[in-house]
Symmetry: C2
């Protein structure tokens, strides 16, 4: 079968918890109404057994595949989703939603607070990875799906997959956490905190109340530049940039004259056009606070459940090192769950989950086949 794009797609919106405060958060605070932006690709089978939920990373959104009308760039995991691809839309019904707290169509700090008719800003309650997943479950309920074939994502997407295992293991048949962790190490928290501090140090941030004026673009750009260093590896940076300098004359002493500096600036400048600084604060805090075994050891939660888990890590990923993925495998084995582990030999660092398409396609398509077959036999 030839591999192809899903073609032109549109983002849809699902609003629930319509009365104010109808959605209870893990913090006991309440929120409502809640909207999730989402996209779907492929067709839901009559028995609704072929649904896959794709979970995005920190800066991702609902647009995982295909093209929005007029766009030249496809969705963020396009080469994984489509006819003949890893998430084969000839076989599977693929869903991706923007997370709660995000700024790409879902309810977040930039949304209008019904109590004040102004953006929430920091009046938005602290949310958790568990809250993001609870909102996704409301969407799955709305779509009439009882059991997802799998939940899958890299980085924060992987943490959401783990949160599905924690909260709704009876609503999924499998999970594929990629390049993630049961909980953040202090180093991961530290990187996030420096990003948050960069945002909050920007006077344009104004304690979050910047929606009527200039947004804290400089601080958010610094946070994003730092992020990008952690997404790459020493080797991938050496291969991509070396110590090459840009040829044009640089009149200012501290101009970004190394190519790697120019790349980071470009990434930072682009990011601020599409991302909300307060969302960055809320989402990174949710990641830092996540701990899959916080309420109950995860192996106890999962013990004896009919689940399959595929854990993927990447050799040069120093932001989410492979030892953290092995801890996930260990918990699954402890719980008696079928868990496969693969450490892919990649030089791309953490970004590998977006780039090692051939290897991921191989691993995931086989895994999905085995999960589907298992069900057939049951």
């Amino acid at each position: 079968m030839t591999k192809a794009s899903v073609g032109t797609v549109e983002t849809k919106y699902f609003t629930f918890a319509n009365s104010p405060e109808a959605f209870s958060l893990e913090s006991k605070e309440k929120l409502g109404p809640v909207t999730l932006a989402y996209e779907t690709y492929g067709t839901l089978a009559q028995d609704k057994s072929n649904a896959i939920l794709i979970l995005h990373a920190l800066s991702g959104d609902a647009h995982a595949a295909g093209y929005h009308k007029g766009d030249e760039k496809p969705g963020w995991w396009d080469n994984m989703i489509g006819p003949g691809r890893a998430f084969d839309t000839e076989k599977y019904f693929v869903i991706c939603s923007n997370v709660l707290g995000g700024c790409r169509g879902s309810t977040g700090p930039v949304s209008i607070n019904p109590k004040t008719n102004k953006p929430f800003a920091l009046d938005f309650p602290l949310i958790t990875i568990g809250d993001m997943v609870a909102a996704q479950k409301a969407l799955i309920d709305h779509l009439g799906i009882d059991k997802l074939l799998t939940v899958v994502g890299g980085s924060m997407g992987g943490m959401q997959a783990l949160a599905w295992l924690v909260k709704y293991s009876d609503r999924i048949r499998s999970a594929i956490p990629i390049a993630c962790a049961l909980k953040h190490s202090p180093q991961q928290i530290a990187f996030d905190e420096v990003g948050r501090q960069a945002i909050m140090a920007d006077p344009d941030w104004k304690s979050g109340n910047y929606y009527e004026g200039k947004s804290p673009d400089r601080g958010l750009a610094v946070a994003r530049m730092l992020g990008h260093i952690t997404y790459m590896s020493d080797i991938s940076m050496a291969e991509k940039f070396g110590r090459h300098k840009k040829n044009n004359i640089q009149p200012f002493k501290f101009t970004a004259d190394f190519e790697v500096e120019g790349y980071l600036h470009y990434r930072g400048d682009n990011f601020v056009k599409r991302f909300d600084a307060n969302s960055y604060l809320y989402i990174t805090k949710a990641m830092d606070n996540f701990d899959a075994s916080k309420d109950k050891p995860l192996h106890e939660v999962l013990s004896g459940k009919p689940l399959k888990v595929l854990v993927i890590a990447f050799k040069s990923d120093w932001l989410y090192p492979a030892y953290q993925s092995k801890e996930i495998v260990k918990v699954c084995k402890h719980a008696g769950i079928g868990a496969s582990f693969c450490e892919v030999d990649s030089t791309y660092g953490h970004d590998a989950f977006l780039l090692e398409i051939e290897e991921e396609t191989h691993l995931i398509s086989h895994f999905l086949k085995s999960v589907s077959q298992k069900r057939g036999k049951a």
Copy 2:
């Protein structure tokens, strides 16, 4: 022999290149007069053969050992310098100077520009690691020392030791570059650039002209926080902080509630009290531009010279990984120079060069003994 502190010390100042523009920089720009803050410990032998030059890292200064009157904290490498210590002041005359471009008593961007009678700010010329070393050579000349027994330092101090090998190999008998590199990788440049961007994004920076008003403390603190993450290791952070939270109630959503966050804040806040933001820009840029083989391959420069080199790296140092130290050893071997290499098994990350005192004392005291003996035999 018992190990002891050198006791109370005072910083001295050496001014040279007294007429304006008397000191030529590698950029062909000129500077003058130039002052270096420096300290000495121990006594210079009559034949002046026992002098050791200690070279400090990015945020260090001339105060390497002993106590300034009234201070409770000793110099930054105190446990390495003193009677019976690695740099035994009963045997050696130990010198440490603050680098050119610094802000701890040496001429730098905060110094008064004789042309304007105002601080240089960004009118200060771009300086190089080679310029720092050229200024140190003027100090050594002034002290009447023909040949240094060794030049030694960690991190940027190690890069200065390499610059001594490049520029003045006839003025030293040995060198001890610790936890450093022949040149920065793009990842190292990238971390520095994010720090610089954090400073320059701070509106109080005012293109460097902040000396009459508020200084860009928020930006500099963010740069320093990021620095501290890179100085530690994943393991050392896990051991020191884990995911512990501070007990006091945190009313603000994005308060630093994890201990690791509080530690970074503390480090950032303290740093801005003693460091100049423009110096941070100039010094990091000098590190990024450094390339020991830029003008001529280093192995050709060193070929056949009567030098000994001890290279030290640390296992968990991911900022200056051991492979970079091995490249230094390779160059020395290629040049036919006696080079020893030790990769110390430490969990402290890059900070290990300040903390692995026992191991360093063992390696360095033996090395110095062999360098001294070699001279005796020659």
